[in-house]
C-alpha cells in the first residue's frame, strides 16, 4: 500500500470523514494515479497554495467538470499509449456529482472512459455552509432547507444516485462508507482492476454540517449502514454482486447523534417515514443478516 500520497497538514475540520476517506482511496489507488477534483471541501482544504497534500498529479478545474476533465486526461493518456499504466481518479462531493456535475458524469460514463469516479457524499453543500443538495436526506435541517413553522427540513429523500449511475451499464458501481476503511480500499482496488467507467458512492460524515461530535465520525458512518439508511452494495456490469449484511438497528440510533435531525426526534410520524426508507433498502437488497450468517459480521 502506498503511504504518504495524501499527507497530513491540510485544513479539514476535526473529524472530517472526507479527508480520511480520500487518504484511504488514494492509498489503495497507488502512486500511478492522476486525481481530478471538482471544486469543494476536499480541493479547498488540501491545495491551499503554496502548499498541497497531494503526492500524485492533481488537477482541479471547476465545480462541475471533473468527469469531463478526466475524460480528456484519459483520452490523452490513450493517445500517449500510457493508459494501461496510469489510473485516472475523478472526485467530487455530493453537489458536484449528483447536482451540478451530473451531466458531465453521465457523459463520461456513457462514453466508456476508463476512469474511476468517486462521489464523497456528506449530504449537503458543506464548503459553502451546509446548503441542501440532491443527496440531502429527508427532513434534514440545512441552511437552505431550514426548519420552521411550515418546514421540517429537506422535503425529499436522497436522489437515487447509484441507480442513475448503474443505468449507464458500467463496469462497476458500488457504495462504501468511511466507517468501513478496509471495505473502501477493497472496492477501490476492485474497481481499478476493471476496464471502463467505474463509480464509487462513498458516504462520509461531516461533523460540522451533521452536527455530531467530531470523535463520532466512524460511529455515525457505521450507524448509517447498520440502520439500512445507507446500504453497502456492489454491482458489476449491472449485476448485484454483494451487499454488507446488517442486524438492522432503529433509525433513531443514527438520527439522535446528529443535531441536523434533532427537530424530528419527538415526531413519531417523521421517524416512521425515515424508518420506512431504511426498511425499503433492507428489503430491496436483502440486507438482514440471518441467524446462521451471524458470525460473518
Amino acid at each position: 500500500m502506498d503511504k504518504d500520497l495524501f499527507v497530513y497538514g491540510h485544513t479539514a475540520c476535526a473529524g472530517c470523514g472526507q479527508s480520511l476517506a480520500s487518504r484511504l482511496v488514494l492509498e489503495a489507488a497507488g502512486k500511478n494515479t492522476i486525481v481530478v477534483n471538482n471544486t469543494g471541501c476536499l480541493e479547498v482544504f488540501s491545495t491551499g497554495y503554496p502548499e498541497s497534500c497531494w503526492g500524485v498529479p492533481f488537477i482541479h478545474s471547476l465545480f462541475e467538470n471533473a468527469a469531463a476533465v478526466a475524460s480528456g486526461i484519459e483520452s490523452a493518456l490513450k493517445y500517449l499509449g500510457k493508459k494501461d499504466k496510469i489510473n485516472v481518479l475523478a472526485q467530487g462531493g455530493d453537489g458536484g456529482t449528483a447536482d451540478i456535475g451530473l451531466q458531465a458524469l453521465s457523459g463520461m460514463l456513457e462514453r466508456g472512459h476508463d476512469v474511476l469516479y468517486i462521489c464523497y457524499d456528506n449530504e449537503a453543500y458543506m464548503n459553502t455552509g451546509i446548503q441542501r443538495s440532491g443527496l440531502t436526506p429527508l427532513d434534514t435541517n440545512t441552511t437552505t432547507s431550514p426548519i420552521g413553522e411550515k418546514s421540517l427540513g429537506n422535503p425529499r429523500p436522497k436522489k437515487p444516485l447509484l441507480e442513475i449511475v448503474n443505468a449507464h451499464g458500467i463496469a462497476y458501481a458500488a457504495t462504501a462508507s468511511v466507517g468501513y476503511p478496509q471495505d473502501v480500499q477493497r472496492k477501490v482496488k476492485k474497481a481499478l482492476s476493471l476496464l471502463g467507467p467505474k463509480f464509487l458512492h462513498l458516504h462520509v460524515p461531516c461533523p460540522l454540517g451533521w452536527r455530531h461530535e467530531p470523535r463520532q465520525t466512524i460511529l455515525v458512518a457505521r450507524l448509517a449502514v447498520e440502520t439500512g439508511l445507507f446500504p453497502l452494495v456492489e454491482y458489476e456490469n449491472g449485476v448485484l454482486m454483494g451487499v454488507r449484511k446488517i442486524k438492522p438497528k432503529p433509525v433513531e440510533e443514527y438520527l439522535k447523534l446528529q443535531a441536523r435531525f434533532r427537530h424530528i426526534l419527538n415526531k413519531p410520524e417523521e421517524l416512521k417515514r425515515i424508518q420506512e426508507g431504511a426498511d425499503f433498502n433492507i428489503q430491496r437488497y436483502n440486507l438482514k443478516l440471518e441467524e446462521a450468517e451471524n458470525r460473518e459480521v
Binding site: 494515479t33 469531463a68 475524460s71 483520452s75
Partner: protein
Amino acid sequence: MKKFLEGSRAVAEAIRLCKPGVISAYPITPQTHIVEELAQMVANGELKAEFVNVESEHSAASCVLGASATGVRSYTASSSQGILLMGEVLFNIAGMRLPVILTCANRAVSAPINIWNDQQDSVSMRDTGWIQLYVENNQEAVDFHFIAYRLAEDKSILLPVMVCMDGFILTHGIESVDIPEGEKVDKFLPAYQLPYKLDVENPLTLGPLVGPDYYMETRYAIQQTMKDALGVLPKLAKEFKEIFGRDYQDLLVEEYQVKGAKKVIVAMGSVCGTIKEVVDQMRAKGKKIGLLKIMCFRPFPYERVYQALKDVPKVAVLDKALSLGAQAPLAEEIKVACWGKKKAPKIISSFVAGLGGRDITAESIKEIYRRLNQKEVSLDFIDLKPELLKEKYG
C-alpha cells in the same frame, strides 16, 4: 497545394496538419462541419487522435483542458451559445495557462435565437484571457491556426488562442485555398512541449486554491503576457512568410490603402473583403479611402493602431457586436488607442452592422464612408429597418 474547399473543410485540413492528439467538440451550427470533417479523418485513419464526442460545450472545453494538461496538443471548436456555455471553462483554461486552440465559427447569440453570423459570441469572451485572432478569408482561416498553435505554445506565452471566423460566410463559403505540405507545418510548429503537466513521475498540483496573497500576481502575469504576445506575433509573421510565402504584415493589423487616406474604416473578419472591394472601386475614382483590418483583437494592439490612424482625419469603426448600453466593443478600443494624443483623427464614428446575419453589402460600406462627411457618430446602426421598430406594447 491549392484546393477548392469549403471553409470548414479547409480548417479541418489545417488542424490535421497540426496533429492534435485529442479533439473534443459538441455540435452547433455553423461550427459543426469542421468537427465532422475531423471525425471523418480520425475514422479514416488519416489523423491519429482521440475524438471525444462530449455531451455539452462545457464538457468539450473541459475535455481539452484535461488533455492539454496531460501534455497532449488539443483542439475544439464552437459557436454562439456553445461559446457562452464554455465561458466558465475558457476563463479556467487561460488561468491555468494551457495552450488550447479553439475555432469560433462566429454566430449571433440568443434571444431571439438566430444561427447567422455576427461576432457577439467571441467578442463577449474578450476578457477570458484568450488571445483572439480574426480572419478575413479561408486562407487566413487555414494559416492562422498554424500561427495560433505556435503562438499559444511559445514558452514565453502559454495562453490559449481562439481563431474567429465568420459563420456561414467563411465556414460554408467555398474558396480556393493553399493547403501547405505537412513538412512546412512541422518546420513552423514544433512538437507540443508543456513545461508543467500531469505526470506521475513528477507529481504537480494544478489548479490549487489561491488566496489574496497570490491571486493578483496570476492575473498580472497574464496581462503582461498579453503585451508580450504583441511582440511575438510580428516575429511569427516574418517566420511564416519565410516558410509559407504569405505575408500577413505584423499579424496585428493589416493596413489596406491607409497611407494618405482621408477616410478609413476599421473592422475585423470577413467584412474586410467587402470593404477592400469598395476601397478599390472608390480609389479608382480618386477617393482617398482605406481599411484598417484588426487581426489581433486580444491582446489589443493599441500602439500599432494609433500609428496606423494618427494621420487619418476621419475614421469609422464597424462593429458586428455590441456591448449593450455602452460603446461598441471595437469602437471603444479604437477611441482608447487615440485618446489623449495631440495628433489623432478628428472624427471617430462608430457603426454597428450585420447583426444576426444581415448582409453587409458594398452599399452598406459606402454609406459608412458617406456618414464620415457628417459630424461624429457616437454609435449608429447601419441598414436598420425603422418600419420594424414602430410596434409597441401597451
